[in-house]
């Protein structure tokens, strides 16, 4: 099985999920006696290509073009289609990033193929490759297989594999091959403008050792002070899942998850958070996770060290009182 991994960089920086996907590709290749090549796409990529050449890959494919300097879905699709047609892989793997979501299904469709996106793992059952992804917001897992001939397209979710498990090249750097592609400006229909960050947040949640986070279970903004009381009694920062910030109940910079901040505090107390995957990717690195939720099947309990199935509105005041007592002691 010939696997190629499409890595991702932006403005001189790797998207680190690229290496997680490379690790996944190496593991699949080892299981199915396959090979792995790594693709890097953009402009001015020598530094990225040579870093990839230090990994255990067959070759690095360096895809450069003036018009690939800034990401566009059209530009990436036109270029990568040519790369795939010449490299003829059986399996094309991507990190499941926002950028990949934006172009990879189209790239696959342009070759008449489908994509299994947002996978959290794979299984090899006697040479048959099964991709595992989540459905119903993480409440169920699904085994998905490809039908028909390759190339197959799949993406792996952030955190599904470990970047530090990428195998290094043995006996010197691997070859870097430049792939010439044809790309005309009129093929790119969208025009990327400036990249920017919204007003810098006053609070840096990534530095907070203790975080109390609220989700839909908080029900209404007037209930938030109850959660803030818990946070204050503990000396923790308050944070939230996306829906809470979408509603404007807490500012956007308090959001944890794929579209917000990624944190790894000593303690993460999740109050009324179901644990949809978009949230979990932002906090699963916490050392200790406590989940309080009324639904015993909430996916948050899968990653919790301590769980309480119950009503947060009963437990929050009791917890605040207990913590204050504790402090006074």
């Amino acid at each position: 099985m010939k696997i190629i991994v499409i890595t991702e960089q932006r403005q001189g920086k790797w998207n680190n999920t690229s290496f997680e996907t490379l690790a996944a590709a190496q593991q699949i290749a080892a299981a199915l006696s396959g090979t792995v090549s790594a693709v890097v796409i953009g402009k001015g990529l020598d530094k990225f290509a040579s870093e990839l050449a230090g990994k255990n890959v067959t070759e690095v494919l360096q895809v450069e073009h003036e018009l690939l300097d800034s990401y566009t879905a059209d530009g990436y699709c036109v270029a990568l289609k040519q790369v795939i047609e010449s490299a003829k892989p059986d399996l094309v793997l991507f990190p499941h990033t926002y950028q990949v979501r934006d172009f990879a299904p189209k790239l696959a469709a342009s070759l008449g193929k489908g994509m299994i996106g947002d996978c959290i793992g794979y299984r090899n059952e006697g040479g048959k490759l099964i991709f595992v992804r989540q459905m119903f917001q993480g409440k169920t897992a699904a085994d998905v297989t490809f039908l028909g001939a390759g190339p197959w397209f799949a993406s792996f979710q952030s955190g599904a594999f470990r970047a530090d498990q990428v195998a290094a090249a043995q006996g010197g750097a691997k070859p870097v091959n430049r792939v010439a592609i044809e790309l005309k400006a009129e093929k790119i229909r969208t025009k990327p403008l400036e990249l920017f960050k919204e007003a810098k947040s006053a609070v840096d949640l990534t530095q907070a050792p203790l975080i109390v986070a609220i989700g839909r279970g908080i029900k209404a903004p007037e209930n938030i002070p109850q959660a803030e009381a818990v946070a204050n009694a503990m000396g923790a920062e308050i944070a939230a899942s996306r829906p809470i910030c979408d509603e404007g109940w807490l500012p956007m910079e308090r959001q944890i998850g794929s579209s917000g901040q990624t944190v790894a505090p000593k303690l993460y107390l999740a109050l009324g958070i179901s644990g949809a995957i978009q949230h979990v990717v932002g906090m699963k690195g916490a050392r200790t996770i406590v989940a309080i939720n009324k639904d015993q099947n909430a996916p948050i309990f899968e990653i919790a060290d301590y769980g309480v199935v119950g009503d947060i509105f009963e437990i929050m005041p009791a917890l605040t009182e207990e913590l204050q007592k504790d402090k006074g002691a």
């Binding site: 926002y98 119903f136 025009k191 009963e314």
Partner: protein
């Protein structure tokens, strides 16, 4: 501006999921408009209010899906298109998108909007695939739309707090990020008006769509736990006391 909004009907958020094979038992549970799609609908209605035109709600699935189309009509969509199909859950992303693309093609809309992903299958591919199948420019994870002179200026959300403005010509396909707007409720007047609005019924056959599936969901199941969770029980007071003790002396994090 003529706008098509793709809306999926999904099991209600609190619906109990009884797994059977590669899907869930659909009898006895409630269904609702996929929440991410409700943001796309709202955005379409706002664009129409600003620039004039028409909003068409397009959905696919069994007969019950009409209820969700009616909800969109009650909120202000002008008409609906229902691709009747009892097997929606068995299509791969390319399969359902092919049917939606065929229905959309006949309408020749300026703009097609989708939500970011569905809360049931969560493939998150429909918008991008519609763009591919209809050969239109597209953009995803949109946080703001400014339309002028046949052109769109779009604010895309990237990861880790980054955003980007991009320009995109019309006609186009956009996937809308959840939270882009505050979704309206249907008014009584809207609900009454919806009764007179037209819902066109189509099928994959009538659209001439025959796509071979590229992938198959073999089975779905409750995920295997990777972490051992210690559950704490008792009255709220007992739970609080035990939890604080655990966090202080066992986990040693507070």
């Amino acid at each position: 501006m003529k706008i098509i909004v793709c809306i999926k009907q999904v099991p209600a958020k609190d619906a109990p999921l009884a797994i059977t094979g590669n899907w869930i038992k659909e009898s006895d549970i409630g269904f609702e408009m996929n929440e991410p799609d409700s943001f796309a609908l709202e955005e379409a209605l706002r664009l129409k209010e600003k620039h004039g035109g028409e909003v068409i709600a397009l959905s696919m699935g069994p007969e019950r899906v009409k209820q969700t189309i009616k909800e969109a009509l009650a909120k202000g969509a002008d008409r609906g298109i229902h691709i009747a199909d009892d097997n929606l859950s068995q299509f791969d992303p390319l399969g359902s998108s092919s049917a939606l693309a065929a229905a959309a093609k006949n309408e020749n809309a300026d703009l097609i909007l989708t939500g970011l992903q569905s809360d049931d299958q969560g493939f998150g591919q429909t918008g991008v695939l519609l763009a591919a199948l209809l050969d239109r420019p597209h953009a995803t994870i949109i946080m703001a739309i400014e339309a002028s002179e046949g052109k769109l200026k779009l604010k895309r959300e990237l990861e880790a707090g980054w955003f980007q403005w991009i320009e995109c010509p019309l006609p186009a396909v956009l996937s809308i990020q959840s939270g882009i707007n505050k979704v309206r409720y249907a008014t009584l007047k809207g609900i009454m008006a919806a009764k007179k609005k037209e819902i066109t019924a189509l099928t994959r056959e009538s659209l001439g769509v025959t796509s071979e599936p590229t992938q198959k969901v073999e089975k779905i199941y409750v995920p295997v736990k990777t972490k051992k969770t210690e559950f704490i029980t008792g009255t709220p007071k007992e739970v609080a006391a035990k939890l604080v003790e655990k966090l202080r002396f066992e986990a040693r994090v507070i």
